[in-house]
């Protein structure tokens, strides 16, 4: 069985994230790393590989040169190979174009299962897995808190607000998993050394038969008109709770705001 895990290289959420002049995420402003939410996807794929015979886990990323780091980290964690889709024309692509490119790359890679994180930690839309499923015409099992594969059936548990559902489908399928699915493993020393020898393929749009004109900033189906940093919040009142002063201040606050 071949599993493709989609991984994204994102600016570190704990750094100073901002926008470039063209309204795209400024990749130079903060250090990049593999989106933490994709580590859960890799973990789930690796668990399937640990339990099954002959399971290949391929980490696939779409991004510029430095996105190679996301592949590297995936390989260190235990993925067997990488595919890096890198093409200048892709810069500024929206979710629709991103899903077009990834769907074409998945069709070329011919996996039995695609595993994604629940959302990226930068764009955070959480829509690409569903879009890919829609484009490929494959079942989409999204936001799994658990993931299991048996024979050619994949199933997840999806914890919604009103119900907890079990969803099942036949392979091939697209799955996304949440951060409830279980801690991701750290790369071992052995994993880090082994990663250096693992194969990484490099694909461009031409390899996928995707027209450059339908992706990128110019083709985006929505435009960013303006980006503004939120003004820093005015310092509030800080009250130490000695002799009940804190709870009294809180009651006053609630009463002044007409919350009580």
């Amino acid at each position: 069985m071949r599993i493709v895990v989609l991984v994204k290289y994102v600016p570190d959420a704990t750094g100073e994230r901002s926008f470039a002049a063209d309204g795209t995420v400024d990749r130079a402003a903060a250090d990049g790393l593999l989106s933490e939410l994709d580590e859960y996807a890799i973990e789930q794929a690796l668990q399937i590989a640990d339990e099954g015979d002959d399971v290949e886990v391929v980490a696939m990323t779409l991004g510029p040169d430095d996105a190679a780091d996301a592949i590297k980290r995936s390989l260190q964690m235990g993925a067997s190979a990488g595919i890096h889709i890198n093409d200048e024309a892709v810069h500024g692509s929206d979710s629709l174009a991103t899903s077009t490119v990834l769907a074409a790359a998945i069709a070329k890679a011919e996996p039995d299962l695609v595993v994604c994180g629940m959302a990226s930690t930068d764009g955070a839309m959480g829509v690409v897995p569903a879009m890919i499923a829609e484009r490929l015409g494959w079942p989409g099992l999204t936001f799994g808190a658990t993931l299991s594969v048996s024979g050619d059936t994949v199933s997840i548990r999806r914890d919604g607000d009103v119900a907890s559902q079990t969803i099942e489908a036949s392979l091939p399928a697209v799955v996304s998993v949440t951060d409830q699915s279980g801690e991701a493993r750290y790369p071992s020393m052995k994993g880090i050394l082994a990663a250096k020898k693992k194969p990484v393929q490099h694909w461009a749009l031409a390899d996928l038969g995707v027209e450059p004109a339908i992706v990128g900033l110019a083709a985006a189906s929505s435009t960013v008109l303006e980006t503004t940093p939120r003004p820093p919040k005015e310092a509030g009142r800080i009250v130490p709770d000695s002799d009940g002063a804190g709870s009294a201040a809180l009651v006053d606050f609630l009463s002044a705001g007409k919350y009580i």
Binding site: W138, L141, D161, E168, T223, V224
Partner: protein
């Protein structure tokens, strides 16, 4: 005037508050037309009419219950083909965002998710990077598909008579693949829905596992209860109450964080709250930088004292 589709969130005909907010926003763009996917349109119609939906389109198919999301997206695409609306608005729930994503692919439209405002020209505001940036954007391809966060605007009534119209749809085999084989209903908390509540009281690791004081204050205020991921991961509170990047985004009038440090991923879910109060025993906790009022103290003393005072004032 152009018609604007509003996808209704409802259960057994009881319409959720964010749908009224959507109808209010839709009126800026044109005439709102409500779409109910599944049973409940007749029961929901009069409430939808109160907020300006002159037409309620009822779409029903057993596949909606049997399969995950895809059939609803396919049905909605057919509604879009039939109505040719100026825009489609949905609430930013897990399911509706996914319907929106699949709809955008199907009809070749631009998609904007998690908007906090929609203006009459169709431009939207979103807050991104954990609430640190604000982005104005506009769809420029096809029928704009926009999901809007709950509590983004105040619902304003504009009563009209709502007529229910059935619209038949065909669901293809390709949409019938992710089968729901089991569904276990969750127990309702009896408190306001987290994303819709005017006040949210959240507890974190600082509760030490006892959410009693958090729940008691929430009940005294008529508030919803939230939790940090640390509290959820410790098994102290169910995941559906988690606030933050991988939980719910809330934007209440008042957010009270008790025993929560204020990590970036938590702030992502609550930073747009109108007022923020923090109770934390560490004066250096980052949450205080966001707080309109910060109380440096033990939540186990502060919360019960506040609850007792509110209860005393009420009686």
């Amino acid at each position: 005037m152009a018609e604007v589709l509003v996808v209704v969130e409802q259960l057994d005909g009881v319409v959720a508050k964010p749908t009224f907010e959507l109808l209010t926003l839709a009126r800026r763009l044109g005439d709102p037309v409500a779409v109910v996917l599944g049973a409940g349109a007749d029961e929901a119609a009069s409430a939808l009419g109160q907020y300006g939906a002159g037409t309620v389109i009822s779409v029903q198919d057993p596949a909606f219950e049997e399969f995950l999301v895809a059939p609803k997206a396919e049905a909605l695409a057919q509604v879009v083909q039939s109505v040719q609306p100026a825009a489609v608005l949905l609430t930013s729930t897990l399911e509706s965002k996914e319907i929106a994503a699949r709809l955008a692919v199907r009809v070749g439209s631009g998609l904007i998710t998690d908007a906090t405002d929609v203006r009459s020209d169709g431009s939207t505001t979103q807050t991104v990077f954990a609430g640190n940036w604000s982005v104005t954007a506009q769809v420029r391809t096809g029928v704009p598909v926009i999901t809007v966060k709950a509590n983004s605007t105040a619902a304003e009534a504009a009563p009209v008579d709502a007529a229910v119209r059935e619209l038949p749809v065909t669901i293809s085999e390709a949409s019938r693949t992710a089968r729901i084989i089991k569904s276990e209903p969750k127990k309702a908390s009896g408190r306001p829905e987290l994303t819709e509540a005017a006040i949210v009281v959240s507890g974190g690791r600082g509760t030490g596992g006892d959410f009693g004081p958090v729940e008691a204050l929430a009940d005294a205020l008529g508030a919803a209860v939230g939790a940090s991921r640390a509290a959820v991961d410790s098994g102290w509170y169910p995941h559906s109450y988690q606030v933050g990047q991988t939980g719910k985004t809330v934007s209440p009038q008042l957010y009270i964080a008790a025993g929560i440090s204020g990590a970036i991923q938590h702030r992502a879910g609550m930073q747009t709250s109108k007022a923020i109060v923090a109770i934390n025993k560490d004066p250096e906790a980052p949450i205080f930088a966001l707080a309109d009022l910060g109380v440096v103290g033990d939540l186990h003393t502060v919360l019960p004292a506040v609850t007792a005072e509110i209860t005393a004032r009420k009686s």
